[in-house]
């Protein structure tokens, strides 16, 4: 894949100011591929990567592809429990990250500055076919069988090519990435797309409160022309950072969570550009499927525009695919995943006749523009990071004092949603809410630890005896019939 990166591409570590040109990256990737092979990884293997070195993660990724293996990118905050579960499911040949695992060959994160060896004059080609698995993104980590989304080189290359075709080249000239790189949005949209377009990529994932408070001056200092992010990031940045003053921003993408009209307009004002684009993207489709640019037509709640390649339809009440009207959103895209890792039944449920069932409900207007109006999945969107409610249920039900748990989204003015859980304890239980939350911290990545845990006597059920998640959330918010112990 790196052979397709133009000579003009640059990677900048925004924290240190170090810049790596293509030759330096190629040398580091070459060295890293040698190290990976020396660590025992080879063509067809899976290599897990979990660390916080942004340039190092890119080098690891391209090196893994160079040797023909598939990269499994994970949160640097992964807990020991999640790591064990992911290893059991993914069975990686090698673990790349700061935490050694006694049962698995291990490499420390790549060090981009060490790329001083002589790279071959000609580009080395990846030792894999276009349809070999290339990237596995985990959408849950703690449940018995974590769900891994498998992308091939073909689906990634198609997605990136479509992204480049739909974004003016000048806009990508100085791209800033503030997002974690183990998600499609941060990795494919905000990093691989500008790199493959041959532009300069400034990396500052996980900027923290201080970094976001300096976002405006950073944009000015680096002449940033493009960045993509999530709504909660903007709520933080616009509250704490002065606006950029030099007018370098040409285009902003916002995605991974619902964007209100008010926030959309506020971002346009802060960023100083009308080209603020509400994006629609899903991990299974290698991030962006489409987007709506406010410069083309005024913002509207949920408006995500037309498809960027492929097609978007809704399933009508009669079960037929329609290009107008309301229903579950389905997409056909060359960026579609191969399937869920080792879960063919789950894949068959999600992909029917080449169409991916998104789990979102939407409406396509007379001009062919899609608006997202709701979702069918029990997913909690905490600042753009999606956590399946069922994963939190199953996590807490592993605690010896918990009989049953029901997680749900709790509205939040900053992050959009937070994670709340109602739990039923055993009669002789000693754990309380604080103890349960502390236990969760040891079991699950930080971004998925519930903000609120409420002990209740019983969970509401529907007439068929099924857990009623919506009713549980309503009771939590009104604080009725759910006495805390």
């Amino acid at each position: 894949m790196f052979a397709h990166v133009p000579a003009s591409a640059r990677v900048v570590d925004a924290r240190t100011g170090e810049t790596f040109d293509r030759a330096a990256l190629a040398a580091a990737i070459h060295d890293r591929a040698v190290a990976l092979r020396g660590g025992g990884a080879t063509r067809g293997d899976r290599v897990a990567v979990a660390h916080g070195s942004p340039a190092g993660m890119l080098i690891d990724l391209f090196a893994i592809w160079r040797i023909g293996a598939a990269a499994v990118l994970l949160s640097k905050n992964i807990t020991a429990s999640e790591r064990a579960n992911v290893i059991a499911t993914v069975r990686p040949a090698l673990w790349v990250g700061p935490v050694e695992d006694g049962h698995l060959p291990h490499l420390p994160p790549a060090e981009p500055a060490s790329g001083a060896s002589l790279a071959s004059a000609a580009d080395e080609l990846d030792d894999a076919t276009l349809d070999a698995p290339a990237l596995i993104l985990m959408t849950s980590g703690t449940t018995a069988t974590p769900k891994g989304v498998v992308h091939s080189r073909r689906s990634l290359a198609a997605r990136i090519a479509l992204n480049i075709a739909h974004i003016p080249p000048d806009a990508l000239a100085e791209t800033l990435s503030l997002l974690p790189m183990h998600f499609g949005h941060g990795l494919i949209g905000n990093c691989l797309t500008p790199l493959l377009a041959g532009t300069r990529l400034h990396l500052m994932p996980d900027p923290g409160p201080i970094g976001l408070a300096r976002l405006g001056p950073l944009i000015d200092a680096q002449g940033i022309s493009f960045l993509s992010s999530v709504p909660s990031l903007w709520r933080v940045a616009m509250k704490t950072s002065p606006k950029p003053e030099r007018g370098s921003l040409q285009r902003v993408h916002v995605g991974s969570a619902p964007l209100s009209v008010e926030l959309w307009r506020a971002i346009m004002d802060w960023a100083g550009t009308e080209h603020v684009v509400n994006m629609y993207g899903i991990t299974e489709t290698a991030n962006w499927i489409g987007g709506h640019d406010a410069a083309e037509a005024p913002p509207a709640d949920g408006l995500v525009g037309r498809a960027w390649g492929g097609a978007i339809r809704v399933i009508g009440e009669d079960g037929a695919l329609r290009d107008r009207g309301r229903g579950e959103v389905v997409v056909a895209t060359p960026g579609l995943m191969q399937g869920y890792l080792d879960q063919p039944t789950l894949t068959d449920v999600a992909i029917r006749g080449g169409w991916f069932l998104t789990g979102d409900t939407g409406e396509i207007d007379a001009d062919g523009r899609l608006s997202i109006v709701g979702r069918l999945k029990h997913e909690i969107n905490r600042g753009g990071i999606k956590i399946p409610a069922e994963e939190i249920d199953l996590l807490l039900e592993r605690h010896p004092d918990v009989v049953e748990a029901c997680a749900f989204a709790h509205p939040d003015p900053i992050s959009g949603e937070t994670i709340a859980v109602a739990v039923v304890l055993r009669a002789e239980a000693s754990a309380d809410e604080a103890a349960l939350r502390q236990w969760c911290r040891t079991q699950i990545r930080a971004e998925a630890v519930p903000e609120y845990i409420r002990v209740v006597e019983a969970l509401p059920r529907n007439e068929r005896g099924k857990l009623d998640r919506r009713r549980t959330a309503e009771l939590f918010q009104t604080r009725r019939s759910m006495p805390a112990e």
């Binding site: 923290g208 409160p209 509250k239 604080a434």
Partner: protein
């Protein structure tokens, strides 16, 4: 309630800590919940308590219990 205790309560509530009061040595460095979103929650709670918006320097300087307490004084 003195400013330190008020700061500890604001931080605990803003970060949804399992205790009523944040630890005295609680800070952006020591509390994993004190991320970007948590920081804005603290800033908003301080602004609500003092009845006026905080200037950018003050937002940047609120990094632990004593500095949050100083904003409340």
């Amino acid at each position: 309630m003195n400013a330190l205790d008020q700061a500890r309560r604001i931080i605990a509530e803003a970060l949804a800590l399992p205790t009523d009061l944040a630890p005295m040595d609680g800070s952006m460095e020591t509390l994993p919940e004190w991320d970007s979103i948590g920081h804005v929650r603290i800033v908003l709670a301080v602004e609500a308590a003092i009845g006026r918006p905080l200037p950018p320097d003050a937002m940047l300087g609120a990094i632990d219990v004593p500095s949050v307490a100083a904003l409340l004084d």
